[in-house]
Symmetry: C2
Subunit: 156 residues, 2 copies
């Protein structure tokens, strides 16, 4: 399924690996991992019992967070492909806007799967459509605009 | 400032108080508390160090989660006012759609303030505009459509 055994987030530079949603260096966070699956991107996540909204279902903030980090990762991977960088690190993206439609309650007692499509790449900006599945049903749909972090971010 | 010493979330029924973002019964969660301030709604939240995106800034998933729970709480309070319910409990809302524009990086070393405006109430649906301030600057803007949970939810 994966054309690379490492997740996108493992290609972020050490300085950009602190995110609660997806940073490999954040010991308390979700450590979301995203991979290519042909032209789509895929992440999986198992919610914990405390990630409840109403009993039995995942809270919307977690869903937004997963869609967000899945999409920034997808945008980074898409830019890395296009930019033909000589660096081993993926460019790091942040979110400009996040839109999530909650289509039905998301059950908490299963693995959630996020699947993303790269809809547009324009310069340093990427539009990603990310769908969240639970038990093979689409429970939420996201459209996320992500932007590559400026090269001089560290100096700011 | 507050016209009631209890937060909106303290008026949710016990069965609807489990949310990671705002449930008073969720021992691991954020326990967001929202109040009226004249015709606006207000919540405050202090992010923890692990809520990082890039070093020094709050991760977008937390911002989305805070805007989400602030808005469901605001919708519940707005409906309670209008419905003139005889119950002590506020109606519980869930999110139909969430849109967040991230206007600038949100610093993590301060109290975040969320302020909401009720833009529209139509039947069981409420549209809430919620702005997130950090250090007196607007860092994110949300528009959230929330819907009152069906009365027979527990029976499902």
């Amino acid at each position: 399924m994966k054309d690379n055994p490492k997740a996108f987030q493992e290609f972020y530079s050490n300085d950009f690996s602190h995110c609660y949603g997806c940073g490999t260096n954040n010991e308390f966070g979700h450590k979301l991992k995203t991979y290519w699956d042909d032209e789509e991107t895929v992440s999986k996540f198992v919610p914990r019992p405390e990630h409840t909204a109403l009993p039995g279902f995942v809270y919307g903030g977690l869903i937004a967070s997963l869609i967000d980090c899945h999409s920034t990762g997808s945008g980074s991977a898409a830019l890395y492909r296009i930019q033909e960088s000589k660096s081993d690190n993926y460019p790091r993206c942040v979110t400009a806007s996040l839109k999530v439609d909650y289509l039905k309650p998301t059950p908490i007692d299963c693995t959630l799967e996020l699947r993303g499509k790269i809809k547009e790449v324009k310069g340093r900006k990427v539009i990603v459509e990310t769908v969240l599945f639970a038990k093979d049903e689409i429970c939420a749909k996201g459209e996320v605009i992500v932007v590559q972090v400026p090269d001089d971010w560290k100096a700011k």
